[in-house]
């Protein structure tokens, strides 16, 4: 043990006041870094700070220990004001070994000069190779300008528990709470909350670990931070996107969710499985993705609008059953928590690659509604809206969340329950004489749905082209009428949608257009750009199909329009790429096709949430092109 570590530091100086700080806790898988970070975030939120958490998840359950690729952990961005995204680079990181830390350094996730708190036990490890790796890494990091503090995490934990590897996350929580001046009582409550199901001994032990961490920080670390908190005036709830979706499903009055396990969607079903039955609902884990979708279709048909939750590969498998729901006009809500694709792709990583599949998927003309929640609060309310649209219009509503929203936490005002959120009871009244199962309104394409149990409504629903009586269409005109009516419903819905809001001035040089989870990063980038005098605004789309009216006018008010998306687009600088073959990002393609506006795109598929700094750089490059000069990349 180095002498430096053992010498108690003088009492901490005055705390540095910060507008925000980004903290990471990085470990091998299974060492509890995420729980530590989530707890820190929850405590910060209860202090009144803005927070956003981003989980760092390796692809395997147990990747090899001490490996660069095995980094598992969490980033917590804490601010004085509301925080809308994970931010750019980390200010302070706690790492349980130097290898997982290197993974983050190599990915340039750390701010230059960032503070590193590194588990010091590797310095005295029995394997000389480990010691040498550790020593060299610490040296190199210091040379690169990082401020490395070595911390005897396990050594101190061993004084309190038999398995320090599993206890040190709470030690680190204590350490961090002390650095940021968080309230110890709130922290103790948080520990009680997370270990609430276990016995009092476990809680006592973890509180002791927490206190030991705080005490060690008190006497060994010189820095103190204070991030002023805003007094919150109304109750907030702190959940991640997947939990918000599950809560939204309950609030929407749905009672059947059929699913098949798939990352990163499954945690929504985990949570729902725990609570749904208490309010009369149930989660059915089907034998496969197709069955999950067909089960939901069956339940919806029988009168209860159901939901199926999945991710990319599962969404591909469901396409035929979705087409059936479209054809038979059965309401259905489908949540696709997008991940990297195609094929198995990057199961734990974010991508916005499924927009075109959602809009155009399933063979033939299969009009569906596509929504994309732009934040955690949106995840909750989207489900209520989705259920309502599905039932009002007899349509499939696809909700495109993604891996970043799935685990990100951000507080939002505690929803005030309204009975209007709920579905009406299943209609069992007799069907009026002469009414037909598809009495399409010629203007809106809408028809009243007949549900089993309704006397006089007996008919055979079919996935075959059918007429107003649900009889198989043998006449070409009937097939066309069905397509016509199902398409009209999208227009009918479109007429009810409000034009999207523009963030920033209503006109200017550059409009950035995003959809879904990128809203926070894009708006933060716009704020920074505007502070630097650039005439940049942004628009985030929640409805992708149909696109609300008013977009054309907004696009025309800017000299240049560029989408920011987390999916693939060809790079114009590639030798073979020109305007005749460039593949644009999904939303750019849709906007170009609909509005005949020369919409450019910037996209990234690195499996990580898009950072505000990257958006700033992309916007500046676009502004540079606009001014006819190439600006150096910032």
């Amino acid at each position: 043990m180095s002498e430096v570590l053992e010498r108690p530091r003088p009492a901490a100086a005055e705390a540095t006041v910060l507008a925000e700080h980004i903290v990471e806790v990085i470990s091998d898988s299974g060492e509890g870094a995420q729980r530590c970070g989530q707890s820190l975030a929850a405590i910060a939120a209860r202090m009144g700070n803005g927070i956003w958490t981003t989980e760092i998840i390796p692809a395997e359950i147990q990747p090899p220990a001490r490996s660069v690729a095995g980094a598992s952990g969490i980033r917590i961005r804490i601010g004085a004001e509301r925080i809308s995204n994970g931010g750019d680079q980390t200010d302070l990181v706690v790492a349980f070994n130097e290898q997982v830390l290197l993974g983050r350094v190599q990915a340039r996730e750390l701010k230059p000069g960032a503070i590193i708190l590194l588990e010091s036990m590797w310095r005295t490890h029995r394997d000389p190779a480990v010691v040498s790796s550790y020593v060299k890494t610490v040296e190199a990091l210091r040379q690169d300008g990082f401020v490395v503090h070595e911390a005897p995490l396990e050594e101190r934990c061993r004084e309190l528990v038999s398995d320090p590897r599993r206890g040190k996350n709470m030690f680190v929580l204590g350490l961090l709470c002390r650095l940021y001046g968080f309230d110890d009582q709130l922290a103790r409550e948080q520990i009680e909350r997370i270990f609430g199901k276990k016995d009092a001994k476990v809680i006592r032990q973890n509180v002791a670990l927490y206190e030991a961490g705080a005490a060690w920080a008190e006497s060994h670390l010189p820095m103190r931070y204070r991030i002023p908190a805003r007094q919150i005036t109304e109750p907030q709830i702190v959940v991640n996107g997947n939990t918000a979706i599950a809560l939204g499903i309950i609030a929407a009055g749905m009672d059947i969710c059929a699913m098949y396990p798939i990352t990163p969607a499954t945690s929504a079903s985990h949570y729902l499985s725990e609570v749904f039955e208490k309010v009369g609902g149930l989660v059915h884990q089907a034998e496969d993705e197709i069955a999950a979708c067909a089960f939901a279709v069956g339940a919806s048909y029988a009168g209860k609008c159901a939901v199926t939750i999945t991710s990319g590969p599962g969404f591909s498998l469901k396409q035929e059953a979705l087409g059936l729901a479209v054809m038979a006009e059965i309401p259905l809500v489908v949540v696709n928590v997008q991940r990297g694709g195609p094929s198995t792709g990057q199961p734990t990583k974010v991508e916005q690659g499924d927009l075109l599949t959602a809009v155009y998927g399933s063979h033939g003309d299969a009009p569906k509604v596509v929504m994309a929640p732009c934040g955690i609060e949106d995840c909750f309310y989207s489900m209520i809206t989705a259920r309502k649209i599905a039932e009002t219009f007899g349509m499939v509503v696809v909700v495109l969340s993604d891996a970043s929203l799935s685990t990100a936490q951000q507080p939002f005002p505690r929803p005030q329950f309204s009975e209007e959120w709920l579905a009406p009871p299943v209609d069992q009244t007799p069907v009026p004489l002469g009414a037909r199962p598809y009495d399409w309104d010629p203007v809106t394409g809408l028809s009243r749905r007949f549900q089993p149990g309704q006397p006089g409504g007996m008919h055979t629903l079919t996935g075959l082209a059918h007429d107003r009586n649900s009889k198989v269409a043998y006449d070409p005109a009937i097939n066309e009428e069905g397509l016509h009516m199902r398409s009209l419903k999208l227009a009918a819905l479109q007429k009810t949608l409000q034009p999207p809001a523009v963030y920033g001035d209503p006109d200017g040089d550059l409009l950035l257009v995003g959809w879904g989870s990128t809203m926070g990063a894009i708006e933060e980038a716009v704020t920074r750009l505007r502070a630097q005098g650039h005439a940049v605004s942004s628009m985030q789309l929640r409805f992708l199909q149909p696109l609300p009216s008013g977009i054309r006018e907004i696009l025309k008010r800017f000299r240049r329009v560029m989408t920011i998306e987390g999916n693939w687009s060809d790079k114009p600088e590639d030798a073979l790429i020109d305007e005749d073959n460039r593949r644009y990002s999904a939303l750019a393609m849709m906007l170009r096709a609909r509005y005949l506006v020369d919409v450019d795109c910037w996209s990234e598929t690195r499996g990580q949430p898009i950072k505000p700094g990257s958006v700033v750089a992309a916007a500046k490059a676009a502004l540079g092109r606009l001014d006819g000069r190439m600006e150096a990349k910032s």
Binding site: M47, G48, D183, L186, E189, E192, R193, Q231, I232, T233, E234, P235, Q236, I237, V239, L247, I250, A251, G253, I256, A258, V275, K278, V279, G280, L282, H284, E287, I290, A291, A292, A294, F295, V297, G298, A299, S300, Y301, A302, G303, K304, A321, L324, P411, R414, P415, F417, E419, L422, V426, P452, G453, G457, M458, H459, T460, L461, T462, G463, V472
Partner: protein, 330 residues
């Protein structure tokens, strides 16, 4: 035939439905198709059991078999290939009050829908299934199916089917949780009716495989059995089929089989010649998935509101931060 008086009086709270009440469109199956016999059995079943047409749903996939709902005047769901089981399960889970039937074929059930079939047996939901097994794809015009005999010359197997056929009975009886497995043949309609009736009466997933003639593509497939009643083995039991005197005299090859005996059921299921007809296995005590999952619970807005409030409480940050009063976490 005489009937006792009470059989002639309809209970006042029930509505009487004549056979015609269940007859939908005119079937578009080929003349001589065994599916007609299955349809007749289902219509008679609905009528004799007095099933309210509005509370009855026939679900199907794709294929000749799956046209059946169109010919019933109940609710029908003619969905997509292979997925009738999960659709039916969703319906039953949402509405356990409905009578749910599945009409499927050897391609729909045993090939593209095989995974769902296995799991449907395992879920054991209260659904009555008729598998129209004619050993061939009909609607797509003569391709080999999983139950086609080895050597069958079809459009996809012009030199003869390479594989031995799958036996849907042994497959079904291999699934833990299976609770009712029976076999009927379209050419003995009286027994077929008794079997589907027993299937409907069984509370659980009742799986009835029906050997069914396809005059168009497999015209002679069952001829040896049609011509020789000795090659049909009728399974009888006081808990199973009881044969009329007339039938007993023409089908003399009979065996007493207790449907609760699964080992014997598996033995019988493996027989290919004679063809066993009757109830192979029945376990009235197998739990139904919809019961285990408490399907059909009544939900009130107040209960949902209270449930949500409980969940929100666990994750709420109250104004006043540290000063807020202690709340007990559920």
């Amino acid at each position: 035939m005489t009937r006792s008086l009470h059989q002639c009086v309809i209970k006042l709270h029930e509505e009487h439905h004549a056979l015609e009440d269940y007859q939908g469109g005119v079937p578009r199956w080929c003349s001589g198709c065994g599916d007609n016999a299955i349809l007749a059995a289902m219509q008679r079943l609905c009528s004799e059991e007095g099933l309210a047409p509005e509370n009855t749903v026939f679900v199907s996939g794709i294929g000749c078999s799956s046209r059946l709902p169109h010919y019933m005047k109940t609710y029908g769901f003619h969905g997509i290939h292979g997925r009738a089981f999960p659709v039916a399960e969703g319906i039953k889970m949402a509405r356990p009050d409905l009578n749910v039937f599945v009409s499927t074929g050897d391609g729909d059930c045993c090939s593209i829908g095989a995974a769902h079939w296995i799991h449907a047996l395992r879920y054991n939901m209260n659904i009555t299934v008729v598998l129209h097994d004619n050993h061939v794809y009909g609607l797509t015009k003569k391709q080999a199916s999983p139950t086609s005999p080895k050597g069958l010359k079809s459009n996809t197997t012009p030199y003869g089917a390479a594989l031995e056929p799958m036996n849907p009975l042994t497959v079904s009886l291999g699934v833990r949780g299976a609770s009712f497995i029976a076999q009927g043949v379209d050419w003995v309609p009286e027994v077929l009716y008794d079997i589907v009736r027993a299937a409907f009466k069984h509370r659980g997933f009742s799986f009835v495989r029906i050997l069914q003639r396809c005059p168009e593509f497999m015209p002679k497939a069952f001829d040896p059995w049609l011509h020789d009643p000795q090659r049909t083995l009728l399974l009888t039991h006081r808990d199973g089929l009881q044969l009329s005197a007339g039938l007993s005299s023409s089908y003399r090859n009979q065996r007493e089989h207790d449907p609760s005996n699964i080992d014997r059921a598996r033995e019988i299921a493996s027989m290919e010649d004679p063809i066993p007809v009757g109830i192979l296995y029945r376990n009235p005590d197998a739990p139904c998935y919809e019961d285990l999952r408490h399907a059909g619970q009544l939900r009130s807005p107040a209960a949902i509101a209270a449930g949500l409030a409980r969940e929100f409480d666990k994750v709420t940050v109250w104004p006043g931060g540290a000063q807020r009063p202690e709340r007990k976490v559920a």
